[in-house]
Symmetry: C2
Subunit: 362 residues, 2 copies
């Protein structure tokens, strides 16, 4: 985690951003150098020495990711809420789960998520492997009654047992609940989405149009980069949502639909009981931000322009003019990447057997 | 529709099956000739002159098939209940729908479904195009409030509008509710699954093992073929379920789980109000039958061996001995086919816009 409180680095970046001239046609080479100091191109795979990414593990993880039998009902898979056909999200304000339960928070995208310092909006899991253990057992998500239940259901299928032996060849007990999550985590570590901004960061000065480049300059100058930096443009800062102004008051103007789940979410405070963590959330990645609507931890804002203005207002105490918002919207387009082909190839799943526990809807 | 009442053709087939010797090692060539007269290899595409299968239409149909925005909630797609990762079914007794409604009948597989003479268990739609119009609007399935709502939602996305123009180039109004279903239907017309039995029917006498061949012989001799013939081994006969004995009584012995939806389903009678149609259902295809559990219109029986014995008992008035059941199980394995690669490649879906109607959970 980079920082809990971000005012100081933000100030530092304001100074840095002064280096970038406010001209209509930005200096491409100068801006590229600054961008290279603030951001990083996406890696192809996000390694984890504790859970090395292997071909067998990724393929197994993909099967589990798409398998609705990891839910009590047999109806909900990881992909139900983190749909790879829609950039790893469900495009719902907050997700639906077992028995049509409506969850309290917006489902973040799995794309590039392995780059984040922590997982979940409140950072309560340290990596994608730990994260993957959560929703399977959560009674309002996939609602599997316990770790043993999940292991038994998967172990009832010989094809899965063989896959676990291939994916975890050095372990005496390859099929464990932790390894179910480790396989899914390994798959997620391959879900990076290279885009035109990467081309720019890698030295192709013409990868961005003038307007997109101007948007990048606004992004840096206005201070957005204070929290949205690094390879994922986010995911490595915990910050109070509403530093200058209460978020839920500023947002009311922009919310146009009923938002039944909108409660005053205390954020990381619920995890730590530390008053400094009140309303603190993980800063989300802005990669593919044009596709991961609706926005914020409660999915209350559908329009990216509105979301940007709200952020400027409640985090930075400023208002971005319409012209600069146009430029930012153009810049965001460059963050729309390619979903890896192997992830989009639906696996054909192993057949259940007479030993496989049956789906239960309640 | 071949036949409503099937006793006579069954008797005819008993006579025909007398030609096949009851030897332990069947005569491959003789059995192949008989099989070729009863069955047909699967075509690659099931044509429909009224809705020609084109590349653009298939690709558009696939996008719609996987798009959860064809449901009111934005959570349920065609693929939710006809999951191509699990052979075009959800492997649930009966399906879940909007607001966790439990449907009354088992979701049949989309694989090879275009070959059926009619669609739905009660044959109330004439083809896959007509079928596809149903679940989208059904309040306990995808629950879209009306045809116009579906069209407006899709029309709000310029990328979809362009696809409809490509897929229906000669039509003045390409994006209609009927064409949404026509595109999905065209996609489904490509979902045939060639298997080893096709190799055998095409002349490869060694495509089946001795035991599988013996199973085919039992299948013919016992009279299963009376209703399960043609390219799909079913799908073209409407038959009373329970000719010799009431289905729900014979089945009670085999049902091991609570079956909350198990009611006395009147079958096609609900469509025609004709007493002859009481308890009449469409005979399902046996292609991929090892994967499309649980079985029957109510999904009440999980075990294929049990399902086979029940069918023999209530439709044919006979009991199949254990040895013959073994052989039938071996034969069924040869009907497990290859799902076409293009269907398994998840499409990346168009982005919603500010004009796209929002998901609603209730």
């Amino acid at each position: 985690m980079r920082q809990q409180f971000i005012l100081l680095p933000c100030l530092g970046l304001f100074l840095l951003s002064g280096l970038v001239a406010h001209a209509d046609t930005p200096d491409r080479e100068a801006l590229m150098q600054i961008a290279q100091s603030l951001f990083e191109p996406l890696p192809e795979v996000v390694d984890n020495p504790d859970n090395p990414v292997t071909e067998a593990k990724v393929e197994l993880g993909k099967m589990l990711y798409y398998d609705p039998r990891l839910s009590k009902s047999g109806f909900i898979s990881c992909n139900s809420c983190h749909n790879l056909a829609t950039y790893g999200v469900d495009n719902l304000p907050t997700s639906l789960g077992h028995a049509w339960a409506v969850g309290p928070r917006n489902a973040p995208t799995v794309l590039n998520a392995a780059l984040h310092d922590t997982q979940f909006w409140d950072g309560r899991a340290s990596d994608v492997e730990e994260q993957a253990q959560g929703p399977v057992l959560n009674p309002i998500e996939m609602a599997i009654p316990g770790e043993g239940f999940a292991v038994d259901r998967i172990a009832s299928m010989p094809e899965y047992v063989a896959w676990f032996e291939r994916a975890f060849p050095d372990e005496s007990e390859p099929l464990t609940y932790a390894n179910i999550a480790n396989a899914i985590g390994a798959f997620e570590r391959t879900l990076t989405t290279p885009d035109r901004f990467d081309d720019f960061l890698r030295g192709d000065a013409d990868a961005l149009s003038d307007k997109e480049l101007a948007g990048l300059q606004v992004f840096i100058n206005e201070g957005c980069v204070g929290c949205h930096a690094g390879p994922a443009l986010g995911g490595d800062v915990m910050a109070r949502f509403g530093i200058v102004e209460a978020y839920w008051e500023a947002t009311r103007e922009y919310i146009t639909i009923d938002q039944p789940t909108m409660t005053m979410d205390v954020g990381r405070f619920a995890v730590t009981q530390n008053r400094d963590d009140l309303y603190v959330f993980k800063t989300p990645s802005l990669r593919n931000i044009t596709r991961t609507y609706p926005y914020f931890h409660d999915g209350s804002v559908w329009n990216l322009r509105d979301a940007t203005q709200i952020m400027a207002r409640v985090q930075l105490g400023r208002e971005i003019d319409e012209d600069d918002l146009d430029k930012l919207m153009a810049f965001y387009q460059t963050l729309e990447g390619e979903i890896p082909e192997h992830a989009l190839r639906l696996p054909v799943l192993p057949a259940s057997t007479e030993h496989t526990s049956r789906p239960a809807f309640r």
